[in-house]
């Protein structure tokens, strides 16, 4: 009989279903084909006027045949698509009856400008203030906006549609959210609370204010004249990240439950690590200690040593700061092996899917394990001598990959790393 517990005696957690949507397309096959072909999903924004913006491109998802009136609508639609794909692949449960809890990484929610302007017009005068908006808000005309703009609204929709069990958890750890959702699922299965968990990350927040907020923090690339080549992770001429939309979903199960029902096992979540940074709201501690600690925690949680990692799916946003600090963190842990481990950034192609990134990149990491092929870091034509990674420049590479580390770091000192393997270790 196969062992169903890891070397620490905990239930082994496997992945039996995955779904993904990014600016490259819908579903795993389309995304994988384009990702390994080195295509970029970044384009000039057409969803709203770009006049006056310092950054006018994004990895938007404009190819869905539905109108969405807010970022939260789009986040929900994307989460729905990937959940459907993941559950269909895993063939778990029955329709609308997923046998476990939902952990959803989702962007913070608020009323947006279209709704605010609608209230303003409803107030019906030229000089008005928030009291006037408040006055028109009640009376039942806008009940739908209460449902829509609750922070729990996307999770509520998914929980009902897919019949997940218990109280769904909506979470934000900024750009590490997707990884945290997976970590929560892993922990629940290891505790023996459930045999399965649905972990989803989604982000549809390319709207004017969200873009401008990042722009005002000088975080975004301004290479607007050439969107496809704007994101340049680890390159010397990198100048920021590009916002993008997307979602990723994973069905996690205990190895025991998955094998008992004869499910196809797509990979193993062998370890999760996290560590918060108290240095600054947007910058990492200059000594790299929180990132180093996070990476070490993930390795130790998986019970493996750095030499067992054959590929690092980097956070790799393409901001001057992130890429430098990620190199420092990885080099400190991996030492002499650093230059010989392939490290690539999916964000060079799909952009930064923010709350979804950890889930999207976990799916891509598992596809890397499945296809034994590493997606490239594109737009890498001017190496940064301070970051001597093997970034798998510009072209995908076939390689033997048994264990992947996927990193996610975010504003507010958020750091999370996952270790994904092909087989139980």
């Amino acid at each position: 009989m196969t062992a169903t517990r890891d070397k620490f005696g905990r239930p082994i957690v496997v992945v039996t279903g995955m779904g993904v949507v990014t600016s490259l397309g819908i579903g795993k096959s389309d995304n994988w084909a384009k990702l390994t072909a080195g295509e970029s999903g970044i384009r000039t924004i057409t969803r709203f006027p770009i006049d006056g913006l310092k950054t006018s491109m994004a990895g938007t998802i404009d190819f869905l045949p539905v109108e969405t009136a807010s970022s939260t609508d789009l986040s929900e639609r994307l989460a729905d698509l990937v959940t459907e794909e993941a559950i269909a692949q895993s063939a778990i449960g029955t329709t609308a009856d997923f046998p476990g809890p939902l952990f959803l990484a989702v962007a913070p929610v608020e009323i947006e400008w279209p709704q605010r302007l609608e209230l303003g017009r409803d107030a019906g005068k030229a000089e008005y203030d928030y009291d006037d908006l408040l006055r028109v808000s009640g009376g039942g005309k806008y009940v739908g906006y209460h449902r829509r703009f609750l922070f729990g609204s996307v999770a509520d929709y998914l929980a009902e549609k897919y019949g997940t069990k218990g109280s769904p958890i909506s979470l934000s750890t900024a750009c590490a959210s997707g990884a945290t959702a997976i970590q929560l699922g892993v922990e629940a299965i290891r505790r023996g609370e459930t045999d399965a968990a649905l972990c989803v990350g989604t982000d549809g927040s390319v709207n004017p204010e969200a873009l401008i907020r990042f722009s005002l923090l000088s975080a975004l690339s301004m290479r607007n004249d050439s969107p496809h080549t704007a994101v340049r992770p680890f390159a010397k001429n990198r100048d920021g990240f590009v916002m993008a939309e997307g979602a990723g979903a994973l069905v996690l199960e205990s190895y025991e439950a998955a094998t008992a029902r004869g499910a196809k096992i797509l990979g193993v979540v062998a370890g999760c690590g996290e560590l918060a940074d108290s240095f600054h709201r947007t910058r990492s501690s200059p000594d790299g200690k929180p990132i180093i600690g996070c990476v070490r925690n993930a390795l130790s949680d998986a019970g493996i040593v750095p030499g067992q990692i054959d590929y690092i799916n980097a956070h790799g946003t393409g901001t001057p700061e992130n890429d430098k600090m990620e190199y420092l963190g990885i080099a400190s842990v991996f030492g002499d092996q650093t230059g010989s481990i392939p490290v690539s950034s999916n964000k060079s192609m799909v952009g930064h899917t923010l709350s979804a990134a950890g889930a999207v990149e976990a799916v891509f990491s598992l596809l890397t394990l499945e296809h034994q092929r590493i997606p490239p870091t594109i737009n890498y034509d001017v190496p940064d001598p301070a970051i001597p990674f093997d970034v798998v420049p510009n072209k995908a590479r076939d390689a033997r990959v048994t264990a992947v580390m996927s990193n996610s770091f975010g504003f507010g000192g958020q750091n999370a790393s996952l270790i994904l393997t092909r087989e139980p270790i």
Partner: protein, 402 residues
């Protein structure tokens, strides 16, 4: 903190060893306790009229957030929360203890931060006057938004500020989703500690009720209590909640961890359970609460219930039906004294339960309908209930440490 290597789930006893309260009734356990026993309520019926709110009782922020620069980087909800988190760490005796804070897990239940109402209003007025050329919104937002406002609004930046100001860095997770976020923060932190995945955690949340942008959200379905304050159980025919300001944080840890460092418990956090009924037909919330009740563990007769009942309908009536099935439990509704503190409401219930257990008394009832009655004997078990105004049901059992 990463997972420890336990494969022995659910065995460790978990204590509440620190409580930080900064509410509309004041700062600290004594101020809140005294106000409750004196039936004192801090409510503002005029400042946001017709909406009723419970305003925050001002504090000297410098005592918990010493750097003015840090204070300036936050909006009110973050300052309130960061302040209360500091009080909780003080109360647990771990403030400044780098070794413990460096591995302390944190789960914050958060909404989002304040908008800049002047910027919003300026844009809306300009639009009303016909300035709606393409790019108009972009231009105004580019020029008018303060760059740091984004960080003061981001949900996970309350946790981020607590890490920066107080050094809590073992892990940082932010749960969203209104009332249920507070329930789940406690539930996940408890189950992780009980299973040996964590030793000590800081949990809680905060809310600033003096926010017109947030009143708008709840006004969409007429949830805001209007015109005149009434205690939660007496809100008829006008129903709804009065938003309440509060920062509430608790330190919880395994008994072993607490004893090893000589920490004294306020109470034991025995269990937290949660569900989310669809609320499509009458009675679903009542039934869900009964189910949760049956999962709490052994309940002795003549206990007490502290509920976060909001005053919103129909959920408050459904909860009332549940309470009437358990008439031998003395009931207290937090909402009467504190208003509805949303994400912080369940942590507030846990805090009040722990204080009551540790002081050997349930605080005074405050209810003209007489649902709430005096409790003469010291409570050894208190059930905390959190039924969200729209979604989410949760329950906890807080007990005296044996």
């Amino acid at each position: 903190m990463t997972e420890t290597k336990s494969s022995n789930p659910g065995s460790a006893e978990v204590w509440i060893t620190g409580i930080g309260l900064a509410t509309s009734l004041g700062e600290g356990l004594d101020a809140n306790w005294d106000a409750l026993n004196q039936r004192r309520i801090n409510v503002d019926e005029s400042g946001f009229a017709p909406y009723v709110v419970h305003p925050w009782a001002p504090v000297n922020f410098d005592t918990q957030i010493p750097k003015k620069g840090d204070q300036r980087q936050m909006e009110a909800w973050q300052r309130i929360g960061t302040y209360a988190a500091g009080l909780a760490l003080d109360s647990a005796g771990v403030k400044g203890n780098k070794e413990i804070l460096g591995r302390m897990d944190m789960i914050v239940a958060a909404g989002g931060g304040e908008r800049d109402l002047a910027v919003d209003t300026g844009i809306l007025q300009a639009e009303a006057k016909g300035n709606s050329a393409p790019g108009f919104l972009n231009e105004r937002l580019m020029n008018d938004l303060r760059p740091t406002l984004f960080l003061a609004q981001l949900s996970n930046l309350l946790a981020g500020n607590i890490a920066i100001v107080h050094g809590v860095t073992g892990s940082s997770r932010t749960f969203m989703g209104e009332e249920a976020a507070g329930v789940n923060a406690a539930r996940i932190a408890l189950t992780r500690i009980a299973a040996g995945q964590s030793d000590i955690a800081l949990i809680g949340g905060s809310q600033n009720s003096e926010r017109k942008d947030m009143l708008v959200l709840y006004e969409f379905d007429d949830f805001n209590l209007k015109d005149k304050f009434e205690p939660v159980w007496a809100r008829s025919p006008k129903t709804g909640f009065a938003l309440g300001s509060a920062g509430v944080f608790l330190v919880i840890e395994s008994r072993t961890h607490a004893e090893a460092r000589g920490a004294k418990p306020y109470a034991r956090l025995t269990n937290v359970v949660a569900d989310q009924s669809r609320r499509k037909s009458p009675g679903e919330v009542t039934a869900t609460l009964e189910t949760l009740w049956s999962k709490l563990g052994k309940l002795n007769d003549n206990g007490a219930i502290i509920t976060g009942a909001t005053g919103a309908q129909p959920v408050t009536s459904e909860e009332l039906a549940f309470l009437r099935h358990h008439p031998d439990f003395a009931v207290r509704a937090i909402g009467t004294a504190f208003g509805h503190t949303m994400e912080a409401q369940f942590p507030l219930g846990l805090a009040l339960a722990a204080i009551s257990v540790s002081r050997g008394a349930l605080y005074s009832p405050n209810d003209p309908t007489a649902l709430e009655v005096e409790m003469s004997k010291p409570p050894t078990q208190i059930v905390v209930i959190g039924a969200g105004h729209w979604r989410g049901e949760g329950m906890a059992l807080v007990e005296a440490v044996k």
